[in-house]
């Protein structure tokens, strides 16, 4: 990527933000204009995300497409570089940009079903999208935090207004827990700025500046708690099942699929890349928490009857793998962790899309109430089984390649924990096979005879996600090639 490609990264932040502002001007009654505008912009985002991913050259600089504008300098506490609007991606950022692009398109398509205040919904949803893109491509701590918070802010209204079941409770719990998490991030950012003392929030400067080991050891766990809350890391995960169960379909997709990865990405960027010595010191704790989360989430998922709650706990379990992979602090485990972010993002987005498509008709998602759905909704069932197979790690699909890396990495550093992780995978299989056996096969329940197949837009969205999952499962080398250099650059990383 050249510096000029930085404009693509800026476009990725500004397109959703611009559409969000533009929608204020479109009258609510003009549904077709809203659909056209969001449809075109979501495809544009996908195209630019693909461009970013494939233009990132793995043998070049670590940060590519770097462009910076000074926003504020030489005033008050700010020095020469001060606050800049600075963009640029490393390999990890590039792969997460692609993840976002692929999720945004189906999330936009399924939202067109909403009848009540669709315009307002899109205004908020695209603010979240802009926030997520920003968090992946910004190289300045001030703006990084700005975009991070921007991705959280609209969540309360999105869930509270358009959600289902216990929406107010879920929305408030999610909002308060995530903002409590950002207290820790706030603290770390302030301390980092003061500690380095260069008068700048520029991430690259902060990355290269020498930092005290003691400072890193104190700040790293704070950051992990803060970002881990957003990443649904055990034991700071409890907003996730409630929040996902209450959220409308596309919010669940975007939130579980992408936003939770911003948390994990924060641990990588602000944690390991900025404070490698602190990271090395605390990595074993991440292993314990990650493996614990994997096991805890899987066991909890065994007991759930609400499909969305089950997926919420399943997400906790899968995100546990991510933190486990990061904790191994070797390059294989790390590749697995970054792959798992992408793999889980697409897989869980597909799950939420399908559950949403069914719930909109049945207004029920209790697994024991369903049986024989494969007869009633065959296409829906095919996609659901496809997603389940990816989730339990069938070779050839995205989940396998990611989990394989994580398991190998874990066995290398912590053999016993590796055993636990494999046990988790077995439990995952159990709860997924259980839901398939119960709801999809067997006698068809006549109560659901009125259910129709999912809509064409939902099918199209499911196809987009399925293609992406197949691509990552069958040919993961583009991802691994791009991730590897960024991982190797972290001081203290073992092979």
């Amino acid at each position: 990527m050249t510096a000029a490609d930085g404009y693509v990264l800026i476009a990725l932040c500004l397109i959703p933000l611009g559409v969000s502002m533009l929608l204020f001007l479109v009258p609510t009654s003009q549904r077709s204009s809203i659909i056209a505008l969001t449809g075109v912009s979501s495809l544009a985002m996908l195209a630019l995300s693909l461009y970013t991913f494939f233009k990132y050259t793995f043998d070049g600089e670590q940060f590519q497409g770097v462009l910076a504008w000074t926003w504020m300098q030489n005033v008050g506490l700010l020095g020469e570089k001060g606050i800049q609007f600075k963009v640029g991606v490393d390999g990890i950022g590039a792969s997460l940009v692609l993840l976002t692009g692929v999720v945004v398109v189906p999330a936009t398509w399924v939202t067109w079903k909403i009848q009540d205040r669709m315009k307002d919904y899109f205004i908020l949803l695209y603010l979240v999208t802009a926030g997520v893109y920003g968090a992946f491509v910004i190289l300045d701590l001030f703006f990084w935090f700005l975009f991070y918070e921007m991705a959280l802010m609209p969540m309360y209204l999105l869930i509270g207004v358009w959600g289902s079941t216990r929406k107010e409770y879920g929305a408030m719990k999610l909002m308060m827990m995530l903002l409590a998490g950002s207290i820790f991030i706030f603290t770390v950012i302030f301390a980092l700025f003061t500690h380095v003392g260069a008068g700048t929030f520029d991430m690259v400067t902060l990355l290269n500046a020498p930092k005290g080991v003691g400072f890193q050891k104190i700040m790293f766990p704070l950051l992990v708690i803060g970002c881990g809350t957003l990443g649904a890391m055990f034991p700071f995960h409890s907003w996730s099942p409630d929040g996902h169960a209450a959220a409308p379909t596309s919010v669940s997709m975007l939130h579980a699929g992408v936003l939770m990865k911003v948390g994990a990405f924060g641990v990588v960027r602000l944690g390991f890349q900025m404070m490698p010595e602190g990271g090395a010191y605390w990595a074993p704790a991440l292993v314990v928490l990650g493996a614990g989360a994997g096991l805890y989430g899987a066991i909890s998922a065994l007991r759930q009857t609400d499909m969305k709650l089950l997926m919420g706990f399943s997400s906790v379990s899968h995100m546990g793998y991510v933190f486990l992979g990061l904790g191994t602090f070797n390059s294989i485990g790390w590749s697995g962790a970054v792959l798992q972010m992408t793999a889980h993002g697409w897989m869980t987005a597909l799950f939420f899309l399908l559950i949403g498509g069914m719930y909109d008709q049945a207004h029920n998602r209790d697994i024991p109430n369903f049986s024989g759905m494969a007869k009633q909704m065959p296409i829906w069932s095919i996609f659901f089984i496809f997603a389940s197979m990816a989730s339990l790690g069938l070779p050839g699909l995205s989940g396998f390649i990611a989990e394989l890396h994580i398991f190998i990495g874990t066995f290398r550093s912590y053999p016993i924990v590796g055993g636990l992780a494999v046990l988790t995978a077995a439990i995952t299989t159990t709860y997924l096979i259980r839901i398939l056996a119960q709801a999809f096969f067997g006698e068809m329940n006549p109560r659901w005879a009125h259910l129709k197949e999912i809509t064409w837009m939902e099918r199209a969205g499911a196809v987009v996600l399925a293609i992406a999952m197949l691509a990552l499962g069958l040919w993961p080398s583009p991802w691994i090639e791009r991730i590897a250099p960024s991982i190797i650059n972290i001081p203290g990383m073992t092979l």
Partner: protein
Amino acid sequence: MQDVFGNALNFNMALLLPEIILAAVAVLVIVLDMFAKELKVRPVALPIVSVLGLVAAGVASGLAVDQHTDFGLLVTIDNFTAFFRITFIAVAIVLIVGSHEYIEKHVNHVAEFYALLLLSTVGAIFMASARDLLVAYLGIEVLSFSLYIAVSLAKNDTRSGEAGLKYVLLGGVASAMLLYGLSLLYGVAGSTQYGEIANALGKSTDDVRMPLLLGLTLIVAGLGFKVSAVPFHMWAPDAYEGAPMPVTAYLSATSKGATLALFLRWFGGPLLPAIADWQWMMAIIATLTMVVGNLVALQQTNVKRLLAYSSIAQGGFMLMAITAISDIATSALLVHLGGYIITNLALFVAIIHFYNRTGKEEITDFRGLSRTNPYLATVITAGLFSLAGMPLLAGFFTKFILFQAVVQGGFLWLVVVAVVGSTVSLFYYLQMIRQMYIFEPEGDATRWGISGTGYLTTGVLLGLIVFVGIQGAPLYTVADRAAFDLFPQGVAAPVTASTGAAPAAAPAAHK
């Protein structure tokens, strides 16, 4: 010009033009009202004359800034003064334009009310520009007395009289404490002039430590009352609730801003040599203010009381910067104050228009506002989110800078308290947003609009909230220039500079 002793005086009355204009217009408004029948003055003329006077004063204060004219060491017109002058004048303009319908309907003695607003602005400006304890004290009293009356002017509302009485009694006690503290300070320093106090305190010995400490305590208590810092905040919720809404807004903006200006002038100037004696007091008060303000706000059901506690908590954030005082902290405080005033005014003007239409002010009365008046709901939501520090809005940027500056001053733990408090605050702000967006309106669900001047003021304020949020550099530059005049050497004050470099790392660095 010469004084009574024959010394040459360095006076330039043109620099005081804004205050002169304001005072004259205040008198003019009362005279116009007195002869309303004879002169055939229509009621609408009063706000127009007031606003024209304010605009003229604003223009005049933009024209002339000269810190070398010292007015016999009584006041100084530097960038710091100019910052507050323009802020206070702008607040008065916004409030009069935004709420003149409310004032005509719900306030007794309309002309006197406008005059009081103008006079209190004069008092507030002198609090910012004073260089002598007595001038500053006069400024405080001009501001306070105007507000004592204004608080009790609400029509047909018994709470208003009660609020006025409470405010005047407690305010009197606070003034007495402040005055006693100033006397003790005079006893120690031998002067009422800021520069000489700083010299005297710099050379003071331990003999005078006790009276100095007592004096400082009384000063902090007196000023703490004016800025409604915990534990001197008891009057604020009642006064906020009982007062006519524009006065409530005025209390939360100008009155608070002027007191903070005084804090900065005193604690950044004459009292700076005694920092070891007052810094811990300010740290305790700031902590208490943030904690109590945010926690008590959680239980409020009345929107004015909610905003009262919210502004108490915001005051706590600003007192942090006084604790960590330096040029950096001062400019950050001014930035935050600017953003806070813009946001609070937007909220209050929007709520005033809501009250004009509905006559209600409970939080639950806002139910379904996003259906009946989406524009007003957007303004209120933007205001609340900005107070909570959400991005793209003024509050995010100003809080970020303020907190970073306090950390820079070596008070990371204070900032942690502040950030926790700020998160708690989001909970009660969300309560109101919940009413507006998640619930459907009760009863009458027809759409309604607000007046043209309402759209104008809320629109401008909303635009400013967003503008400061995405392009805060102009505000920060102006604030920095103002702070520079307070700390002319441009060096940080002798705070805890040694530990300030790496507060969190310091204990761990030896491992």
